[in-house]
């Protein structure tokens, strides 16, 4: 029955089942739906636009490779965020030694690159600085707290969905979220923000 429907009318899970059967259009639709969300997820994790692009591509390629084994047991969004999170954990381990990078270095590098350079140069610079500050604050957090904060604040996911992605209880998610916010607040006070 679903075969006659356009990919845009299908649920994520139905699209993924089509991908499993070799439907490239269905995969294109899934890419469109999650491209931006995953980009923001990785951008907030690592603060590097080019790296975030690469990680998004890597995540999608992993999803595609695993499509033949896909079973719609859980929501597709949970599935793809779990893949993205595992990738982020692996990359965090690799990049751990770079966590000592100072805010000044981030500013020198430009930190997060702002797309759309048609903006006023001063506005772009100010935006970059603000982005760099946010990245610096997020760097203060351990991986699990940072991931929860990103999923809640930037992906607008519920605690319940985050608990499914992280594989722990809602209570654990809440307490980690509160600790993460507490640390950010302390960092802001110390940075006189």
């Amino acid at each position: 029955m679903n075969d006659s429907l356009k990919p845009s009318a299908l649920s994520d899970e139905a699209l993924m089942l089509r991908v499993r059967d070799g439907d490239h259009d269905a995969f294109g639709e899934l890419l469109n739906r999650y491209e931006r969300q995953l980009f923001v997820f990785f951008l907030r994790q690592f603060g590097d636009e080019e790296a975030a692009r690469d990680y998004v591509m890597d995540t999608f390629l992993r999803v595609y490779r695993a499509a033949s084994r896909y079973e719609p047991k859980a929501k597709f969004s949970t599935y793809i965020y779990q893949i993205a999170r595992n990738l982020a954990i692996n990359e965090s381990r690799k990049l751990q030694f770079r966590r000592t990078e100072s805010l000044d270095e981030i500013k020198e590098d430009g930190g997060v690159q702002i797309a759309g350079d048609a903006l006023d140069p001063e506005a772009v610079l100010e935006l970059r600085e603000r982005q760099a500050l946010v990245q610096e604050a997020l760097r203060q957090l351990p991986e699990d707290q940072r991931t929860i904060l990103i999923l809640v604040e930037y992906q607008d996911l519920t605690y319940e969905r985050v608990s499914q992605i992280m594989g722990c209880s809602i209570g654990t998610i809440k307490s980690r979220m509160h600790r993460a916010r507490q640390k950010i607040r302390e960092w802001m006070e110390n940075s006189e923000l």
Partner: protein, 196 residues
């Protein structure tokens, strides 16, 4: 809802994680409680800080890049599959060649072994009686120069005259010494011719 309840839920409220009914109660309380409002402002400052700058859009479509990469991977995998099949058929040909050579050697061996054993039998036979020898083509009925008979020490043969004297034996011995002449088999006197 009192201050204790609001304090418990305020962070979740700011994060947009509370039930709409509870959210309504919190909002009503905040309108009248300065202390809770202050806590709310503190929590909200964290969210405002985190959301102060929207994340930029990716500079180019990641979807396009991913789909292109998938096409490349498909092509690569097809090439690899083709290469693999060529390699596989090449190795098959190699194996066929090796097997052919081995089978050929076995066949040649099977042909040679019976022939060799026949030759061997013939050569063994030459040691006891007339026949072909490695000395050359000697007629089967030619006298065997190595036989005791030809040396004259043989026991009396029906066809061999007992009257043969020692000179005859010497002659035979001489004949033996002139073995190369045996190659001229047709000229060699037949035993019957030597018989008186």
């Amino acid at each position: 809802m009192n201050c204790k309840h609001v304090e418990k839920h305020i962070a979740d409220y700011v994060a947009g994680q509370v039930d709409p009914v509870i959210a309504g109660l919190i909002e009503r309380h905040l309108e009248t409680c300065d202390s809770c409002r202050e806590k709310f402002e503190t929590e909200k400052s964290v969210t405002d800080f985190l959301r102060q700058a929207d994340a930029p859009d990716p500079s180019a479509s990641i979807t396009t890049d991913v789909l292109q990469k998938l096409k490349d991977i498909d092509l690569e995998s097809r090439d690899t599959a083709l290469e693999y099949s060529v390699q596989k058929s090449g190795s098959r040909l190699k194996w066929l060649a090796v097997i052919s050579v081995v089978l050929g050697l076995i066949a040649v061996g099977l042909l040679i072994i019976p022939f060799g054993s026949r030759l061997n039998q013939q050569s063994v036979g030459n040691q006891t009686g007339p026949g072909f020898t490695w000395l050359g083509d000697i007629p089967i009925d030619a006298p065997d120069p190595f036989s005791l008979e030809s040396l004259g020490d043989a026991p009396a043969h029906p066809e061999s005259p007992e009257s043969q004297d020692s000179e005859d034996r010497v002659i035979h011995t001489l004949d033996f010494e002139t073995v190369p002449d045996l190659n001229e088999a047709p000229d060699t006197p037949d035993r019957k011719e030597r018989e008186p």
